[in-house]
Symmetry: C2
Subunit: 77 residues, 2 copies
């Protein structure tokens, strides 16, 4: 199975959701990307349909927006 | 590991998220509850902090609201 990608921006909601997702699907099955620090990947996330963080993009390309930490506009600042 | 519980109300957003979650964490690790049909469990979901569906409650009791299908008020009608 290819990996899911979890996009976040370091916010408290993001960190909590990250722990839950890693526990649920396993650290080996998810790449965690901090788009606040790794800003080169903001466009990648937006291209996949990520509207807010935290969000999980499944191997099938589906976007699961989990709770609500920050909009992409907030992340871009 | 105790199971997670996925609460939904049969909406298209719910069904799509259900497929994604089952694929990610395994059908054996999640109980799927349709609170539109199984209305006796609405209070249970609300008691766990579910504000909208679809939502996944982890074994640790954390609520992950996934995308947005319907508010609990909508479900209660």
């Amino acid at each position: 199975m290819s990996k899911s990608v979890f996009y976040h921006a370091g916010c408290p909601v993001c960190v909590s959701a990250e722990h839950d997702i890693v526990n649920l699907i396993g650290a080996n099955n998810v790449e965690v990307v901090h788009i606040g620090e790794n800003r080169g990947r903001i466009a990648e996330a937006e291209g996949k349909g990520v509207k807010s963080v935290p969000a999980l993009v499944t191997p099938a390309g589906h976007v699961l927006h989990i709770n609500f930490g920050a909009s992409m506009a907030d992340v871009k600042g």
